[in-house]
Amino acid sequence: MTSEKNAQIGQAREAFQLLYQISQLLNTGLDAETLRICIQLCELGVNPDTLALVIKEIRKMGDTSAQNKQTNLQL
């Protein structure tokens, strides 16, 4: 039983490594932890397109606010 579980975990790890590789090939900019969360979300049936949109929006938010801050500092 434990050996089966171990094998499963090993497989999962391998699959994750592969996905991480693809993610890097595609230059998504996700780190391992974030990717793990994303994969879990997808496994739970969240629409990937929407998720991607969300991530992009949040990144953009960060960018714009950082810019705002910079301009504020300059002012």
Binding site: L25, N27, L53, I58
Partner: protein, 871 residues
């Protein structure tokens, strides 16, 4: 796994925290709110199929590098075997959506759209919902970058009810039809499988039109077809068209595989039809271009395709540009070869420079090579073609004619010339390296539209002509020879000419048949030794010769008529001065020499006259006549002087231009043109008409003379005959004076004898005169008086004819279109002497008359033209 990890909101929260942890400015709560709102607001959409997704990722990666794409394939195949993930597709599509495309890479651009018949419903659905804000979607979604939208357009799905209905109705029917249509697109004629409904037929025929266009192109590139005239540039075009067709085949093959693969899922005729739009457009224009270049070769072909480069549609312009680059490649090779080595390798007669094999190498500069006007491609100007011609000619000239120059071995000179062609050569090697028709767009502008072409040509031309000119002036003394031409053939070296005239005076009065060139050559050498001409460099003196040109019409010529100086230019320079040029110099020399001789003769007459004058104290009856003769002689002398001045002064600025241009180092063609110009000015002012055909042609070619040229020639011809009349009359004055002087001399001697006899008789203390003597003396005096009377009458007649001729000449000069000749008319009659004598001359010098006469001239010209048209 703890609880927060298993549900969606918990995971989302965690995600937000992670994402915002790097950016202090954004609070994770805000992000979480945003995420939730997105999650709830956007409708769930079905996921894309695994295969399509895979293809997308693959194409995306292969855009960047093929290595990445291979890596992905490897990972993906492993992942497929893992079976751990429940939703691999979802994860992949997430990754793809998040992937950031690097800076738009345009290394490969597909000529034809890749067919994609499968319904990419997720993408389509999304574009459907967000079609109003397409641009923002395009930027936020990595997949739909504008570039990709342009190249591989995704096909619209047939979500409308109408389409579904038709699809379901004749599904089986249509599948066969689609297969047929795809076959038809490659020109295969399938058997009509079954009866089709009308709309389907229309769609079908639209796709099948591709087949028709394909067949046309196929016919063009078929090497056995007899329609197209072969040539290297045509072959270039054929190769380019073949490339295009290969691309087209690739596209069709993909389409076919997809049609065959999924029989039921969506390979409808409509989608094929949509796919066919782009190939249709491209093939149509290819066929148009190919049709328009029929029966054209070489430069004309290039010009024809070049027209399409200016087409407003960017796609067509790009297509034409690609074709043109491919087909001008042989031209570029020919061009570089000609510019660098002066060789023409043109088996099909397509190059813009033509070598005329019949012309011998002596006439190499002027006639051996020429520009084929109709072969100049439209992206080159005529001036550029002339430059290309001159550059190559210079190279040939340096090699053929100046082969023995020591400078030839200098290493820097040749490469210097090539240096300026670098841009051309760079384009050439680049195109050679890239080879295929695909990549050329990305390597910048092709050689024929590059800025460097014009500059490179200009610089290469400048360098080549500088080298040539330097070689000609330093080693072949071009300028010395030009100056010598002017000094000796145009009588600018006064002391030499005068001395030669004195020495030749007696010799040339003999009939032409008793003259020998070697005697005259001795006289010439004597004249050279005695004057400043002896300081000329030996290479000039060695070329100065005497020649006799006997007339062919069997007249009894005196030596004056046949004598001429000759300046022989040979070697490399000989090719620069064509025979027509020598002929022009000869006619100029003859004319100037004649005027000079008449002037000399009149001066001679004056000397006789002055000697005689002292003995005429006892002969008052001849005084009036002598005085009148001397007045007329002065008049004639002045006219001669004015004519000589005019013929030299008129050409003075042209010679000055020539020397200035030579000092500034202008190119050879320019110098030669200025030389011709100077000669022409001389001819006009000496009122010489030259009818040599080659000369007239070269004048027309150089555009030296406006369309009025032929008219001018006719008028000059007229003037020449009037001038001839005047000169003949002046010579008649000289012979008249000779007879007068002999008559007077004889009478003087008789009288002296008579006086002496009287003195002698007186000394012998005889009667000084007898009656018989007195009678005889009276008789003699009577005869002499009669002689004088008849001479006086002769002189009156002569004066009348002479003045008549001069008046006509002045009148013609005043009415001449050439302004400098009008001023010459004024100079010949500046004191209004002839004008007072002749009423005819009153009018022409006024403005009103000139205007009227110009109108008359214009009328006459139009009449002449009408007449010619009628003929």
């Amino acid at each position: 796994m703890d609880n927060s990890n298993s549900n969606v909101p918990g995971l989302l929260n965690k995600l937000c925290e992670r994402l915002t942890s790097k950016q202090e400015s954004v609070k994770s709560a805000e992000a979480y709110e945003l995420a939730l709102s997105y999650m709830t607001s956007i409708n769930e959409r079905p996921l894309a199929e695994e295969k399509i997704l895979c293809q997308k990722i693959h194409s995306h990666l292969s855009n960047i590098s093929s290595k990445d794409a291979d890596k992905f394939n490897e990972c993906f195949s492993k992942l497929k075997n893992a079976f751990v993930l429940n939703q691999p597709v979802a994860v992949l599509s997430l990754l793809l959506a998040l992937s950031e495309s690097p800076q738009a890479s345009n290394s490969t651009q597909q000529l034809f759209p890749l067919p994609n018949l499968n319904v990419d419903s997720s993408a389509v659905g999304f574009t459907g919902t967000a079609s109003s804000s397409k641009s923002t979607v395009g930027t936020s979604w990595g997949l739909n970058t504008p570039k990709q939208q342009a190249s591989s357009q995704s096909l619209p799905s047939n979500h409308s009810n109408m389409a579904i209905m038709t699809e379901s109705c004749n599904h089986v029917n249509e599948n066969a039809c689609v297969r047929d249509a795809v076959l038809a697109a490659t020109g295969v004629k399938p058997k009509p499988s079954c009866t089709l409904s009308r709309p389907v037929q229309i769609l079908y025929s639209r796709i099948a039109h591709l087949g028709f266009l394909h067949d046309k192109l196929k016919e063009f590139i078929d090497p056995t077809s007899v329609f197209t005239p072969r040539g290297l540039m045509v072959e270039g075009l054929v190769a380019a068209v073949r490339d295009e067709l290969t691309e087209y085949y690739r596209s069709v093959a993909l389409l076919q595989s997809q049609v065959c693969e999924n029989d039921c899922s969506g390979g409808t005729l409509r989608r094929v039809c949509v796919w066919a739009q782009d190939p249709l457009h491209r093939l149509t224009w290819l066929a148009t271009i190919v049709h328009s270049v029929q029966d054209k070769r070489g430069g004309a072909l290039a010009s024809c395709v070049h027209r399409f480069v200016h087409h407003g549609d960017e796609r067509i312009a790009a297509l034409a540009r690609r074709l043109l680059t491919a087909l001008t490649y042989p031209l570029l090779l020919m061009l570089t070869r000609w510019l660098l080595h002066g060789e023409i390798d043109d088996p099909y007669g397509e190059f813009l420079i033509e070598k005329r094999n019949k012309v011998s190498i002596d006439r190499m500069w002027h006639d051996k090579y020429r520009v084929r006007d109709w072969m100049i491609p439209s992206f080159m100007s005529r001036e550029q073609a002339a430059q290309i011609l001159a550059t190559g000619k210079s190279v040939v000239f340096m090699r053929k004619a100046c082969a023995n120059l020591p400078e030839q071995g200098e290493p820097g000179s040749e490469s210097d010339h090539a240096l300026h062609l670098q841009t051309l050569l760079a384009a050439h090697t680049r195109n050679g390296a890239s080879g295929g028709g695909m990549e050329e767009e990305s390597t910048g502008p092709a050689w024929w539209e590059a800025e460097g072409l014009r500059e490179g040509l200009e610089m290469a031309h400048a360098v080549a002509s500088q080298r040539l000119l330097a070689a000609l002036t330093t080693h072949h003394h071009l300028l010395d020879h030009l100056a010598a031409h002017r000094r000796y053939l145009l009588l600018a070296q006064g002391d030499f000419v005068h001395h030669l005239m004195t020495l030749l005076q007696d010799e040339l009065s003999k009939p032409a048949t008793s003259l020998y060139v070697h005697n005259l050559t001795c006289t010439l050498e004597a004249a050279v030794r005695a004057t400043n001409a002896q300081y000329e460099p030996p290479h000039v003196l060695a070329r100065l010769h005497v020649n006799l040109y006997p007339n062919c019409d069997g007249r009894e010529d005196s030596g004056w008529d046949v004598f001429a100086l000759q300046y022989r230019v040979d070697g490399p320079l000989g090719t620069l001065f064509p025979a027509t040029c020598a002929a022009q110099y000869r006619s100029l020399f003859t004319q100037l020499w004649r005027v000079k001789r008449i002037e000399y003769a009149l001066h001679d007459a004056w000397r006789d006259h002055t000697i005689l004058q002292k003995r005429l104290k006892g002969m008052p009856e001849v005084w009036s006549l002598m005085r009148r003769v001397s007045c007329l002689r002065a008049e004639a002398l002045r006219l001669c002087g004015a004519l000589q001045d005019a013929s030299c002064e008129g050409a003075e600025p042209a010679w000055a231009d020539l020397l200035a241009a030579a000092a500034e180092g202008h190119h050879l063609d320019k110098l030669l043109q200025l030389h011709h110009n100077a000669l022409d000015r001389h001819s006009i002012h000496a009122m010489i008409h030259h009818t040599t055909q080659g000369r007239a042609r070269s004048i027309l070619a150089n555009n030296l003379v406006p369309p009025l040229g032929t008219n001018l020639c006719v008028e000059i011809n007229e003037l020449q005959s009037y001038l001839g009349n005047v000169l003949n009359e002046t010579l008649a004055l000289r012979s008249f004076e000779t007879t007068l002087h002999t008559g007077i001399n004889a009478e003087l001697e008789r009288r002296e004898r008579y006086e002496a006899l009287k003195i002698e008789r007186a000394a012998r203390h005889e009667y000084a005169i007898t009656a018989a003597d007195e009678v005889q003396d009276k008789e003699r005096r009577k005869i002499f008086n009669q002689f004088l009377a008849s001479r006086k009458a002769d002189l009156n007649v002569w004066a009348r004819t002479y003045r008549g001729h001069v008046t006509t000449l002045i009148l013609k000069l005043a009415l001449h279109t050439e302004v400098s000749l009008q001023t010459l008319a004024f100079r010949l009659d500046y004191s209004d002497f002839y004008k007072r004598g002749d009423a005819k001359l009153h009018e022409p010098l006024t403005y009103q008359h000139k205007r009227l006469s110009e109108m008359g001239l214009h009328l006459a010209k139009t009449k002449l033209l009408d007449h010619m048209k009628k003929k």
